[in-house]
């Protein structure tokens, strides 16, 4: 397993060493940034469905992004990390300045050892049938993610689709569950499976995004409970609203 170092935050040309040191606690790790991108993308896909008729091009592009993230996360075995991510305080505003994700893989190589994405996806495609034994200890073959809702594209019946999407979104997270390597299954025996219910997933998502960004280090060591800030509340209200709509359909 890779030892993941913390990414240096990309400042706008002004290197503030003190700021860097002081900010190390506040720097979101690459994994957490990536997770928040995944969460953001899933919310976007979901919101697509609430539109009268979704923009197919946009949906396809977002879905492809989700696939890419899932593939990479599968490759480096970080699916398991999802469950160990615990709560802490973080502002959703952190989502806005996620420079790390925008940095090229060359820049990232300077900061830490990360194999290029292109290599990964090629390996992934090529080794579908085989185990990628360095990263996954499970014997089951890694399937290319087919867990995106098919009904994202078909708008034959939007009412039906909303229900289907809910199921499909559940499927996504079931698949996430399935990808957990056996060897660390014990760690998750205490994990509440209701995490994968839509409601909890959504509220969980918001907590996840909030927590990860400031306290990257801390989140890996000790789980703490979410304390809601005023930021959290308004966003949670929004998500509650979304959940309401989905549940109603």
């Amino acid at each position: 397993m890779f030892v993941r170092g913390l990414k240096r935050k990309c400042f706008d040309g002004e290197e503030d060493i003190e700021g860097t040191l002081a900010g190390i606690k506040a720097i979101p790790s690459y994994n957490l940034q990536r997770q928040s991108l995944l969460d953001m993308s899933l919310v976007k896909l979901q919101l697509c469905h609430m539109l009268v008729e979704p923009n197919l091009c946009r949906s396809v592009l977002i879905a492809n992004t989700v696939r890419q993230i899932q593939e990479e996360m599968t490759q480096d075995g970080t699916w398991q990390m999802i469950n160990t991510q615990s709560t802490g305080q973080a502002s959703v505003d952190r989502l806005v300045s996620t420079d790390i994700l925008c940095r090229s893989s060359r820049e990232q190589a300077e900061g830490k050892h990360v194999p290029g994405y292109s290599t990964f996806s090629k390996d992934f495609e090529g080794d579908q049938a085989q185990d990628s034994s360095e990263t996954m200890s499970t014997a089951s073959s890694v399937q290319p993610p087919r867990n995106l809702p098919s009904n994202v594209w078909e708008m034959e019946n939007p009412q039906e689709n909303k229900g289907n999407f809910q199921k499909s979104l559940d499927q996504i997270f079931e698949t996430l569950e399935n990808k957990t390597p056996n060897s660390v299954e014990d760690l998750f025996s205490e994990v509440d499976n209701s995490y994968y219910d839509l409601d909890t997933m959504l509220t969980g998502m918001m907590s996840n995004t909030k927590m990860g960004h400031c306290d990257g280090l801390e989140s890996f060591s000790s789980p703490t409970t979410t304390t809601s800030s005023s930021n959290c509340k308004s966003d949670l209200n929004e998500l509650d609203h979304i959940v309401e709509i989905l549940v109603e359909s």
Partner: protein, 447 residues
């Protein structure tokens, strides 16, 4: 060609602005397409409310040699209405996605306008005389009592105030399951294509109840869908050739003589990815939002999120020229993904001689790239520059570091002010630039 001689850069001046002055933009007034006709005398705009407004250039005033004719409203009509698809319980937007002019064959003008689902052929004709002097009818149309008619006269045509009428001559409907993004008239002037996210259809202008499907990329299993069609255009000279672009940054050139269904391309244009620039957003920013052939037909231009690329039709493996529109946005892609700006579809256009290309950006900026001098310029469409014959001041965005005076920093850019649609007069240095709800017309400074 004016301006091309002597290697002088064009000096752009504000000419006119059309549209409401209000900052409060009515949704229906959002301009969704801009297109000059083949002579450049007419300029059409379509908006989100389904209306088409056509401007006509005034005849050049011999006494006013320092400016070309102004564009004034010639005709306004409601092209598309909002519809409701009862089968799918979905509203069909009336927004005009594209307008394409037919070349003029007689006194009337014809254009195609399309929304997401339906294409319409409109005839725009002038009426400047009317018959007067009927025997059996009064001037107001009431019938006269025949017993009061004592003499006979021959009705004559008398001049009247010019009236411009637009009438729908053909309605091409029910051929697209997905949203139409492009229409393109063939060089045979008899057929045209319409493209949606997954299919391209070929129509005959005279026939509305049939169209031929020439491209279909819909997978059997929609779960496998990873790529959509984003734009399509016929070659300006070869009536058998067309291209279509995709959300994965590829362009396929197809020859209709090869087979009825052009699913297999004749050429595939794709630039290999730069591995050093790879990120999760690479695919999204490679998605092509517009493709336009040069007037000569030798080149084509594509617009993706950050750049404009010129392709030689004889070279498939990479573009011959690449111009960065707003490279300073590359480090902001995550924010632009979050606020959905990364999905904005910018168009691009050629000037009449194919020497300069133009495209829009944010903050009401638009950019021009001179292919010969390799110089580029950034200008702004704003009411603050609205003194006619005052040369527009070039703008500069400061990507990082110390901001010089007159520069604007990336963080100050207004991402709600986007210029998606621009058009260049086919013969003159006159450009039409659409901001959200205003249409700006700029001209080069004539001496």
């Amino acid at each position: 060609f004016p301006g091309a001689g002597g290697g002088n850069d064009i000096q752009w001046c504000f000419s006119q602005v059309k549209g409401a002055v209000d900052d409060d933009v009515a949704e229906a007034d959002i301009i969704s397409t801009v297109e000059f006709n083949h002579s450049g005398e007419l300029l059409a705009t379509g908006d989100k409310g389904g209306r088409v407004v056509i401007f006509q250039q005034e005849q050049e005033n011999k006494t006013q040699s320092h400016s070309r004719g102004e564009y004034n409203v010639y005709s306004t009509f409601q092209s598309h209405e909002p519809e409701f698809d009862y089968l799918k319980s979905l509203e069909i937007e009336e927004k005009i996605n594209k307008i394409r002019w037919l070349p003029q064959k007689n006194a009337a003008q014809f254009l195609l306008s399309t929304n997401d689902k339906t294409i319409k052929l409109w005839k725009i004709s002038e009426r400047d005389k009317r018959p007067e002097g009927y025997n059996l009818k009064e001037e107001d149309g009431r019938y006269r009592d025949p017993t009061t008619v004592t003499t006979l006269r021959v009705p004559v045509f008398r001049p009247m105030d010019l009236m411009v009428e637009a009438s729908p001559r053909r309605i091409f409907a029910n051929a697209h399951t997905y949203h139409i993004n492009s229409i393109s008239i063939n060089s045979d002037y008899e057929t045209y294509l319409s493209a949606d996210d997954l299919r391209i259809n070929l129509w005959h202008l005279e026939i509305t109840d049939r169209s031929f499907n020439i491209v279909d990329i819909k997978p059997a299993n929609m779960e496998e869908l990873t790529e959509v069609i984003t734009a399509a255009e016929f070659h300006p000279n070869s009536c058998n050739t067309f291209v279509y672009s995709s959300s994965k940054g590829t362009i396929r050139l197809c020859d209709m003589r090869a087979s009825a269904l052009c699913d297999r391309h004749s050429k595939l244009f794709e630039e290999p990815e730069d591995p050093s620039n790879r990120s999760f957003f690479s695919e999204i920013i490679s998605s092509i939002s517009d493709v336009k052939f040069s007037h000569s037909g030798r080149y084509m231009m594509t617009r993706d999120y950050l750049s404009v690329k010129i392709w030689d039709l004889n070279m498939e493996n990479r573009p011959v020229e690449t111009y960065q529109v707003h490279e300073y946005l590359r480090s902001k892609l995550c924010s632009l993904y979050e606020n959905d700006c990364i999905f904005d579809k910018f168009e691009c256009c050629w000037n009449g001689s194919d020497s300069i290309v133009m495209t829009g950006s944010y903050n009401n900026f638009f950019r021009m790239f001179d292919r010969n001098t390799k110089r580029d310029i950034t200008l702004e469409a704003s009411r603050e520059n609205n003194k006619p014959r005052t040369v527009l001041k070039p703008r500069k965005v400061c990507a990082s570091g110390k901001r010089k005076k007159d520069e604007i920093s990336v963080d100050s850019l207004d991402f709600n002010k986007k210029i998606l649609h621009t058009a260049w007069h086919p013969k003159e240095n006159i450009i039409a630039v659409a901001t959200t709800n205003n249409l700006y017309i700029f001209q080069d400074k004539m001496n």
